[in-house]
Symmetry: D2
Subunit: 313 residues, 4 copies
């Protein structure tokens, strides 16, 4: 099989890219994300149609946030789009005339990193994506593991604090409430409110108030050594690393790959994550340690991974 | 391949059984467990030798507590025996002249249940064993998943309470401190000490003191409706079920199998575990629910599973 | 000193009552609560003026939610009214021509119960009020203990769960997030969503959805034996009782008084609170146990207490 | 009243000191602590007798670990001595012919600091003692507050982590498991085991193993900048400061005094405690903040405080 198309459905834009067997994106078409479910389906088809014009493509892979069924055909539930049991595969196949594979977007990104990024050469890899929330994917024995019903690898919602913070999922104490971009901002706001004298740089980057602090301010302030910003990253890393240690107890992979916007800060966040991971790894003195690697594909991982999953059929 | 031998290394005795392709144990030989590492190796060989006398067997599978390497040959670390990087496969093969597979005992038990017990017909199964501690095994795509280095499925040591109870592993807040036979006894003792007037049956079964309460007393008292004993099982079930919900978020199996001595109480403990599982299952209204099943093989699971793994090679 | 006036500032109405030395309310005047800070001050003066028309009164006591300074004159901060360093005592004194004492409303209610309700005869009493939130007051050596700066007894905001639920105060894991009317509703909604089949009565009392459940539904359903409602009260009681055990370690009072809307359910909630209190009381076998008593004055406690504090001067 | 004697019962020695009205110790007599309950009573009387030889003294104050009744006469329960309902006051009075006051040792130390140390000039003071465990005392309105039954101020046993570490008291998650000398050593050992390469100084001070680390090693290593030692103090300070914030919500004192062996490190530990206190203080922007002060009397506080309590009668 030659070229395939990967589709990434974002909150502001939908991107369809033509991808070759080496994971290279030959060209990309983007459209603004419509506000209605049907509009989004239309937009996906339009983007795919445009991408397919200049190339001969064999299949389409779509990465979608939410639960995707075990047939990789239906979006059972999407958190941000009003899709409930949406037969996305059938709808798009009918319109674009190509075989379609639908995949959870974090799974697609994990596959992208495994095939063409930080995971190359590993057979057993766990990817986590520290974006606004926390997602991820599981590769065991060179295969993406989706679970019996398609909804495995919902890492963000394992409970790490009993009776902990409320989560959008309805539960409490979910990992993504403590290790995600949203958590990072909360840490920074709480600390800046409590000790503003240690948050001069951070507060200066926003509107001067704790509430005005955004994720990009925390990153920029941390690079400049702002104590509150650095401490906020460290807190996030404590939770991220402890969670990876749990995943090591469960999956024992040879590598973890950490992606998502938060990981763009590189060693600023990966160093503390590795330290926390070692701190909490059970049996650390007896077992080989999994590597904790930075993702390499950035926000292309999902599109490239979806395209490759479509190629694999 | 025809008959194989499975070996189960217990704290008081070592059992070697001849097992056929259907998982039936044809005969079993047991010896008392010696106190020295070398003595245990000797005893394993002796038990295997006895078992092999009356049958033609093709291979031997040994289930051992602890970390077993990815080649299923070496016990890297055992919690109860002073084995460190013990080349058990080589030693036993040289002595008994049969191919040997070494496997973590909880993995072996999981495989036994998957092949011949409650897991028959499922492709993706997670087993947990509620014994003194909490162990388990992972079957995905009809294969036992051991991790890259052989030490996956250490369920008992995922952290469910930050800054929680000290665990023998050196960490804190491990699941097995809250969901295991040992936890059950702790719950019962604490409650009996605080409200002895609600623990009349329970205290009457032991020596009358909270410290004298043993696991079997809790089971017997719960069957007689002792409020403290029933409440102790319920507390254990709260933690067990919540942990299964986490495992569902991660693995999305079609079934969980709950084994180990605690599960011998059947619905007394499985009912509350199922209830807690549903309570904490993320996305419960959107996804198919994994079944929570009682193990069927009892304490034969490890021996039968080890024998079958040896058959598979 | 003879008669005094007590003022209770509620969310919907402001009540001023003429109270005698025995704590009896002779008459009450109420006005709707205005929406502006100045309007509320006006309304307080009006209500006091009306109450003072038919009786000779010597002083006025005002119970206000929020921080009241150590001079009992200024509302430093109020959570529901836009008062910041509001000199309420001076303003009202000037307008009504009577000596005024301002007191935190939960402190006033605690004093009321201590003087004329469940606390009569005790020298050392801790009151907690389980209303929408959780407040309380401290009586040691027959005196209300307000702290050096007037802001003691903020029971609702001690941290009972590290990294726990967000609280309106900006912190996390505050006791009132786990033991209050608001917590009760959250427990009921979560449980009804997870196991609707056990919440038939409860859901039937509202609009049929978990989100439609209100506090009064939980109370009514619990009285009818609805499992989810009963379990929700039990969960609240677990946290309330454990917190009382902490307060016993700190204050060692002879009695706890439990008031507020939640306590209107009587033994339905007090029984489980007592049980949890005993469960967590440190050194229970060695020490005399504080009584856990139901408040007796209902929502009159604050008004009566404020009037009496004014009498004491 | 002129001179009085204060008695401090330690694990290795019993000290009796003659103390004047200014809190100055004129002379001290010590004897080795006997191993039997009666032997200890004998030793107390002997030490008091010796101390009374050269001075005219009016009364004796004895500080004892454990629960002391509201009459300050009987040791209800002692954790380290086999005293149960021991009538210590009567026994010693009969033997030494002087009025005796028995007081909990942490209460006595708190009183000493309030009268002659860091608490001078404050009316409302909370003292915490970070020794092997965590104790303390409450002064409100210039009086020591002992609770109705004599067992108030058991700060070490408020629950700060639900389902947390087991405590010697039989409960779980007690504050002293997270903020005490014992906790400090645990933090250091855990961290040194996980990241020995960051604990070179610390490990070098002991026998080279994590288990060999003692409290004095952590202090010495922290002063030399050992990362693990510094981090261990910071962890202790996080819990200590958060607990002080809770005590501020409850008691609202003008000052906290931090004593005990851990506080000997001065700003190394007090600085982080203050930072954590501010981080968790509720309503920090609206209220006056209590000072967090270092104790001044060191291990003399208990003896001096007991002597002064005897003087007050």
């Amino acid at each position: 099989m030659g070229l395939t198309i990967g589709v990434d459905i974002g909150g502001t834009k939908i991107a369809a890219g033509v991808v070759d067997e080496a994971g290279t994106i030959l060209e990309t078409h983007t459209v603004a994300t419509p506000s209605t479910p049907d509009g989004i389906t239309d937009a996906i088809c339009a983007a795919v149609g445009n991408a397919a014009e200049d190339h001969t493509v064999d299949a389409v892979g779509i990465g979608a946030a939410g639960y995707v069924d075990d047939k990789r055909a239906t979006v059972i539930f999407a958190p941000n789009i009003d899709w409930r049991h949406e037969p996305l595969k059938d709808k798009v196949e009918q319109r674009v005339g190509l075989p379609v594979v639908v995949e959870n977007d974090a799974n697609a990104a994990a596959w992208g990193e495994y095939r063409f990024g930080a995971g190359k050469g590993h057979e057993d890899v766990i990817c986590i994506t520290l974006g606004t929330g926390l997602g991820g994917g599981i590769i065991i024995g060179n295969k993406l593991r989706r679970g019996r019903f398609g909804v495995a690898a919902e890492f963000g919602h394992i409970r790490v604090v009993p009776d902990g913070l409320l989560c959008g999922c309805g539960s409490q104490g979910c990992w993504e409430q403590y290790a995600s971009g949203r958590a990072l901002v909360r840490y920074a706001r709480q600390r800046a409110a409590a000790t503003p004298e240690s948050a001069g740089i951070l507060l200066g980057l926003g509107d001067g108030t704790p509430e005005g602090i955004q994720g990009r301010h925390v990153s920029a302030a941390a690079r400049q050594g702002d104590p509150v910003a650095v401490d906020s990253f460290r807190e996030l890393a404590r939770w991220a690393g402890a969670g990876l240690a749990d995943l090591a107890s469960l999956f024992d992979p040879s590598a973890f790959i950490v992606g998502g916007g938060v990981s763009d800060e590189g060693e600023l966040v990966l160093g503390p994550i590795r330290k926390s991971f070692r701190r909490w790894l059970i049996g650390a003195q007896w077992r080989p340690h999994a590597q904790v690697l930075a993702a390499q594909l950035g926000n292309r991982a999902g599109l490239v991974g979806a395209a490759d999953l479509a190629r694999q059929g």
